[in-house]
Structures are given as C-alpha cells and as structure tokens.
Symmetry: D5
Subunit: 116 residues, 10 copies
Amino acid sequence: MADEVNLELFDNPRPGREYTITIRVPEFTSLCPKTGQPDFGEITIEYTPDKTCIELKSLKFYMQRYRNKGVFYEQLTNDILDDLAGACQPHWMRVTSRFSPRGGITTDIMAEFKTE
Amino acid sequence: MADEVNLELFDNPRPGREYTITIRVPEFTSLCPKTGQPDFGEITIEYTPDKTCIELKSLKFYMQRYRNKGVFYEQLTNDILDDLAGACQPHWMRVTSRFSPRGGITTDIMAEFKTE
Amino acid sequence: MADEVNLELFDNPRPGREYTITIRVPEFTSLCPKTGQPDFGEITIEYTPDKTCIELKSLKFYMQRYRNKGVFYEQLTNDILDDLAGACQPHWMRVTSRFSPRGGITTDIMAEFKTE
Amino acid sequence: MADEVNLELFDNPRPGREYTITIRVPEFTSLCPKTGQPDFGEITIEYTPDKTCIELKSLKFYMQRYRNKGVFYEQLTNDILDDLAGACQPHWMRVTSRFSPRGGITTDIMAEFKTE
Amino acid sequence: MADEVNLELFDNPRPGREYTITIRVPEFTSLCPKTGQPDFGEITIEYTPDKTCIELKSLKFYMQRYRNKGVFYEQLTNDILDDLAGACQPHWMRVTSRFSPRGGITTDIMAEFKTE
Amino acid sequence: MADEVNLELFDNPRPGREYTITIRVPEFTSLCPKTGQPDFGEITIEYTPDKTCIELKSLKFYMQRYRNKGVFYEQLTNDILDDLAGACQPHWMRVTSRFSPRGGITTDIMAEFKTE
Amino acid sequence: MADEVNLELFDNPRPGREYTITIRVPEFTSLCPKTGQPDFGEITIEYTPDKTCIELKSLKFYMQRYRNKGVFYEQLTNDILDDLAGACQPHWMRVTSRFSPRGGITTDIMAEFKTE
Amino acid sequence: MADEVNLELFDNPRPGREYTITIRVPEFTSLCPKTGQPDFGEITIEYTPDKTCIELKSLKFYMQRYRNKGVFYEQLTNDILDDLAGACQPHWMRVTSRFSPRGGITTDIMAEFKTE
Amino acid sequence: MADEVNLELFDNPRPGREYTITIRVPEFTSLCPKTGQPDFGEITIEYTPDKTCIELKSLKFYMQRYRNKGVFYEQLTNDILDDLAGACQPHWMRVTSRFSPRGGITTDIMAEFKTE
Amino acid sequence: MADEVNLELFDNPRPGREYTITIRVPEFTSLCPKTGQPDFGEITIEYTPDKTCIELKSLKFYMQRYRNKGVFYEQLTNDILDDLAGACQPHWMRVTSRFSPRGGITTDIMAEFKTE
C-alpha cells in the first residue's frame, strides 16, 4: 500500500523530550479477502515522535482506504505499522488492532517498531 | 488428541518481526469426565508466530472436537497448548482457560510454551 | 420434542399466592440446522406457578437435550415455552432466549404463555 | 418458622404518609434440603410501613436463623414474606431472593403481600 | 428541625411550565442515635417547582446540619422532605436516601409530597 | 431503495402466538451525503411476526448495501423500517439506529410500524 | 436569547409518521452567573418532528453560544427548550441537562414541550 | 486445623511444565471470634503445581469447615495457605481473601508460599 | 495528632511470613482548613506486618477523629502514615487517599513507609 | 504561556519523604487552532513534590486560561508540563491529556519531567 500513503506530518513541538501519543480509531472497517464480507475493528496507534507527528485528518483518510479493500488481519496490522512508522520515523511505535468476533472468535494483533 | 489435529496454517506475512496474535474463543464447551455433565468456558490463545500462523476457521473446528469429549480442565489446557504449539511452532505461546463456576467455584488455568 | 420431555415437578408451597420465579440458564448450546455449527446463548424462564413448580435439576437435563440438536432460534424458543408451560401449567410464563452474535448479528426471542 | 420469629419493631415516625423502605441483605446463606450443601443469595425487602417499622439488627438476627437450616428457595422466600409481613403489618411488602448459580442455573423468586 | 431551616429560595424562571429538578447529594453523613457512630449516605431530591426553586448553596448548608446530629434513617428522610417541601412549596417532591451498609445490610427510604 | 430489497423470508413457526424477535446489528456503516465521510452506528430491529420471519443472512446483505451509499440518519432509519416491514408484513415493528458521535454530538432515531 | 437563534432546519423525510430523534450533546459548557466560573454538563434533546428537523451542525453552533455566557441551570434548560421548539415546531420535545458536581452536589433539569 | 484436612489430590497431568491454576471461591463464610457474627468473603487460590493438584470437590468441603468456626481474617488466610500448600506441595502458592465491609471498613489479606 | 493516637494492636499470627493486609476505609470525612467545609474521601492502607497488626475497630475510631478537624490533604495522608506506621512498626506500609472533586478537580495522595 | 503563569505554591508538609500527588481535571476545554471549534478533554497531573506543592484553586484558574485559546494537543500537553514543573520544581512530574473524539478519532498525550 506504500504508493498511496499520503499522510501529512507536522513538526514535533518538543523534539528533545520523549513523550507518547496514543491515537484510537474505533471506527475501522475492511473486507475479508476470502469471503468479501466486511470486517469491523478498532486500531490503536501509540508512538514516541522524533522530528514529526502524524496529522489526524490525514490519518483518518489513510484509514478509510481500507474500507473496500480485502486484507487479512495479520497483514493489515503490519502494513499500517510499516506505513505510519515509515512516514513519521518515530523513536518507537506500536499498532494494535482488535477485530469484532467472527464465528464466535475474536482476534487482536499487536506489532511494534523500534529504532536502534 | 495428537492424531486428530487438523489445524490449517498459513505463512506468517512478517516473519522477521516479533509481533503478538491474541485469539479469544468465548464459546468453548466440553464434558466433565467424572459426571458426563457439560462444562462451559473461554479459551484465550496468545502467540508470537515464527514461520506460520494458525488459520481461524480450522481453529474453530479444532475447538469443537472437545464438545462431546470428557477431559479435566488441567489436562485440556495443556493438551490445547501442545497441539497448537506443535502445529505452528511459534516463538512463544500461552493458553489460558477460564471455566464457568461449578459448586460455586471458578477455575482458570494458564500454561506457556517457549522455544529456547 | 414433546415425547422426550421428562421434567420433574414439585408441589407449589404457596398455591394461593401469585408470585414469580425467574430461572436463568446462561450455559445453553444447540446446533444450527443449516450449517451444523454450534450456537451459544442464554435462556431465561419467568413464570407464576399454579399447582406445581419445575424442579431445577430436571430442567438442566431438559436443556442439555438441545446440545446436539439442530433447531432454528424461533422454533427453539417456542418449543421450550410449549414444553415447560405444558408440563407445569403455570398462570403465566415467559421464555426469552439471547443468542451470541453470528455474522456480526445478535438475535433475541421472547414468547409468552397465559391462561385465560 | 413462625414460632421463633423475634423481630423487633419500632413506631413508624410518619404514620400518615405512604413511603417506601428498601432493605437489601446481600449476605444470606441457607442449606439445600436435598444435599445439605450451602446456598448463597441476596434477599431484598421493600415495604410501605403502616404503624410499625422493622428494626434492622433484629432483622439481621432473623436472617441468620436460616444459616444452618435446609429450605427450598420457593418455600424460603414465601416464609420470609409471611414472617415479616405478619410481624409489622405493612400496607404493602415485596420480598425478592436472588440465589447464586447451581449447576450453571440461577434462580430468583419474588413474592408480594398487600392489604385489601 | 423546623426552627433552624434557613433555605434560600429564588423565583422559578418558568412558573407556568411543569418541569423537574433533580438534585443529588452524594456526600451526606449523620450519626446513629443509638451508637453515636457516623452513618454515610446519598440523598436525592426531585421536585417540580411552583413559585420558587431551592438555592443550591443554602441546600448544602442545610444538609451539613445533620453532620453531628443523631437521627434514624426513617425520621431523617421524612424530616428533609418536610423541611424542603415546606420551604419551596413545590407541586411535587420526592426525597430518596440510600445509606451505606451496616452489619451487611443496606437501607433506602423514599418519601413523596404532593399538592392536591 | 425499494427496488433492490432482496430479503429472504421463512414461515413463522408459531403464527398464532404473539412473540417478539429482536435483532441487533452493531456493525453498520453508511456515508454522510454531505461530506462523503463514513458514518458508523448500530441498528436494532424489534418485531412481532405475522406469517413470515426475516432470514438473518439476507438481512446482513441488505444492511451491507448502505456501506457505500450516502443517506441522512432520519431518512435511513425510516427507509429500513419501510423495507423490512414491507417485506415481512409484521404485526408490529420498531427500528432504532444509534450513530457514533460527530462533532461531539450523538444521534439516535426510533421509528415504529403498526398494523391497524 | 431568541434574537440570536440561527438554527438551520430541513424537511422531515417522513412527515406522516410519529418517530423520535434523540440528540446527546456531552460537551456543553457555560458560566455561572454568580461566580463567573465555568460549568460543564450534558444536554439531551428528544423530539418527535412535525414538518422540520433540526440540522446538527447548526445545533452545535447554537450550543457553543453558551460557552462564555452566564446563565443559571433552570433558566438555561428552559431557554434551550423554548429556542429549539420555537424553531422546529415539533409534536413533542424534551430537553434534559445534567451538570457536573459543584460543592459535592449534582443537578439535572428536565423540561417538556407538547402541542395540544 | 491441620488434623481435619482431608483434601483429595490427583496427579499433575504435566509435571514438567510450570503452569498456573487459579481457583476462586466467592461463597466463603466464617464467624467473627469476638462477636460470633457471620463474616462473608471471597477466597482466591493461585498455585503452580508440582506433583499433585487439588481436587475441587474436596476443596469445597474443606472451605465449608469454616462455616461455623470463629477465626480472625489474618489467621484464616494463613491457615488456608498452610493447609493447601502442605497438602499439595506446590512450587508456589498465593491465597488472597477479600472480606465484606464491617463498620464501613473492608479488609483483604494476601499470603504467599514458595519452595526454595 | 500523635498524642491522641490510641490504636489497638494484636500479635501477628504468622510473624515469620511476609504477607500483605489491605484495609479500605471508604467513609472518610474531614474539614477543609481554609473554608471549614467538609471534605469526603476514601483512605486505603496496605502493609506487611512485623510483630503486630492493627485492630480494625480502633482504626475506625482513629479515622473518626478527623471528622471535625481541619487538615489539608497532603498533611492528612502523611499524618495517617506516621501514626499507623509508628504504632504497629510494619516492614512496609502505604497510605493512599482519594478525595471527592472540589471545583471540578479530584486529588489523590500516596505515601509509603519502609524499614531499612 | 510562561508570562501569565500565576500558580500559587505552598510548602511541602513532608519534604523528606518521596510521595505522589495525583490531580485529575476532567473539565478541560480549549479551542482547535485550525477551525476555532472547542475541544474537550481531561488533564491528569501526577508528581512527587520537592520543596513546594501546587495550590488547587490557582491550578483551576491556570487551566481556565486555555478556555478560549487555540492550541494543538501536543503543544498543550507539553506547555502544561513546562509551566507546572517550572513553577513547583518537583522530583518528577507526568502530565496526561485525553481528548474527546474528533472525526471518530481519540487522542491522548503523555509527557514526563524528571530531575537528574
């Protein structure tokens, strides 16, 4: 999805201080690549910014690109982490996705990025 | 139960990254081996995949095999851990089972698997 | 299911007083008649006894008969009402069933019986 | 149990006004008359006093008499209503008992007393 | 307590419309007249004003007068209703008191005032 | 939307008894007709069936037709009521929609259908 | 406040059907007219539209006009009811306000409008 | 109480793996040794079994022995830990007791056992 | 306040074992030293006893001494810790106080004592 | 904002002991610098005082200065930390802000200050 990532960034107002930003997106929906049926979930992004922060409106538009796209949960969570961490180059980032039950079974995925 | 394990696996989409998958199965039922009465519980599986991930539909069918089988809680939890870790060979896996009260008493079991 | 109803009854200890008994069975499971997959739910029975009350252990065994039976929700709820009201002949009875989500959709059914 | 009822009463401080007193006893225990096993529950008493109100300490002692006594839920609830309404002669009284699950099944009983 | 009631009132801003004001006082404390020990509770006042409304600061001071006074729950609730309804002459008023458990037993009292 | 309604129906298993079916669809999404932005909500359908009941899988597909459609909340709720009541001709039906907050404001709509 | 009411309205999409719209505004703030200190609360508006419905964005702006205005709770709730009912002329409307505790005391006001 | 401990044990089904068993007993009652009044609480037992596990029915009977016995909270919690750890010789065990409020005060005790 | 501390102590029943006692006092009230207005809060005491434990009834009386005393939150929490730790000489003690909101602001204080 | 910081301080009553003060301000509002629209949130301040503590009334007035000021979340949280830590020079301080959802997205920021 890398080619269509258009996340806006803005300058971190306190670049010298290590602080944490937590963004919760409870209105996430994508499609199951097998059945074409909609999946619903909540994506949480936590990060420690370095030089730039993610602008929220462009993040909302980024998330909406999954609305009619078929992706597996594991792929999706790792893709979002790659895209967001690639764009804003944070010290640390964690993406957690929590999907609504399918067949009585609930799935969460949690992936982290760290600079050395 | 090893002979009847037919879990489907799929390739881990990010084999180089250590991330965690949490699967909650709140609709679990088995039988008490002493009385033949049904037990009800919730099984939670957390793991860090290595080469393969567990496909959810086949996991659902695996869980349904306990529906008319008599097993003690302690045996059951350890068996599920052995079967799932044996099938997908994760870096780490934890299985937690929480059973509904019997005689006013509630039981949870938590078992872990780790590669050296 | 009428032929296999073996509910035990006992004499109402206060036959002259209109009072209400509420029984909640949170551990109910049956099968979907289409797919053969298990359904999970909670059955609530409320009634005003006349001459007899329902013995709880035999009610538990009655409920377990649905464990490996394929029935639709609407049929099931009405059948339970027919069987229980037929057995204990209450002044009034209400059966409510609440099923776990399937395909992201949750269903409850509520049916009542009243003597004229 | 009528012979051992020793409830203390005190004069209703506003006999002309219809008001409601609700007493919740969450620490109730009795024995199952079949198995001798303890049952645990919560008894709620609501009433509109006429000439007298029930003193709370003597109510606590009254409730403790069930601690080592074997009684069925339906009998128990109606007995408490008879004893309390018999003692304080209220305009209206309702006794509700809610018992902890046994064999996965929960039972509540609600009985009312009214003067004509 | 009638002689020390100093509730401030203000003119009802919509005297022609029947509307409801609900005031919750979760920080209420008085003394048990038997043991001298503190009781803690929450007082809720609901009323439909006629010509005047109760000013909140003076209500707070009114409630604080019970802090070191020994009164029974039933007396207290009816006294508050008498004092407040006497002061502001509402179309309707209800006072509900909910006391913290003593000896494992919780008590609520609810009393109403209505003009003919 | 009347022309594309393809709801499947099945025969009511107890046509002579007035009972209630409650269906909750927590995973509903449509588009805002002004901004094109996604809206998220929960639709609840309650009805008393006459001759036919609504099949759940076809209801799920019906709901998914709103996924990429721009409709106002008030229109949407009334349209769903018209379509579902038109299809299954119930004795009574109520559709309630609850939408996620927009601009800090939450909206629910509740509409009913009744046969004379 | 009547002179500055600029609520936008739109045509009721189902003028013949009696249905209910519930709007919750949890982010409301005004000033105390005595102390000048900010008050915080939640305003809920329920109404049955006749010919017109209230547009949500203009409602948001209407609510923001109270941000730096000093008004008593009782006045405020009745003013909002007058303004909104005056603008959209509904069959029925109810405005409920719930304010955060001040001096340990919480206040709610509920006022209704009805056409004859 | 050591002389009357009749806990049944069974062989740990996975003696080589360190796993945790959590048993919650929410229906616990004993007597206050000072006043003779009943106390109510919840006992939680967590342990890592070595060679043997505690059979639940015998644990239930063990807990019932406190029903008419007068013991202080601190003594009780330590006694249960001594008895259970003495019987099943676990790698690690923790007993936590949480008692219902007395005189507005709630007490919890937590004690641990560890093999060197 | 040291001169009026009359806490009763009793011998620790298991002096050799490090275990924890948690006491929650949800019914605490004192006065604001500035305004004389009552403050309401909850005090939690956690400690690992050495030779002696604190008797609960005398703790209740100790807490009641603050009822009509004006103290700031920070002073109060540290004073309670000094008094209790001074009396029972524990291995470790923590006092946490949580006060009800004043002016829309809530304050908690947590202080610890440790022997070297 | 440094020039207008008028926080009152008072002497730490136990300067030698490391203890923690947690202040929760659930009624916080500022303006979005882009749109001018109000934002609503909750600010939590945790700190370990050194020589001085922050007086709560002056903290309330400090927080109110943001009411009609346009600031981004990230700037705001860091500014508050700078102002408060600058004023009272604590051993450690953490400021956490939690904002109400905008466009379906929720943001929290957490920043810390530490003396070497």
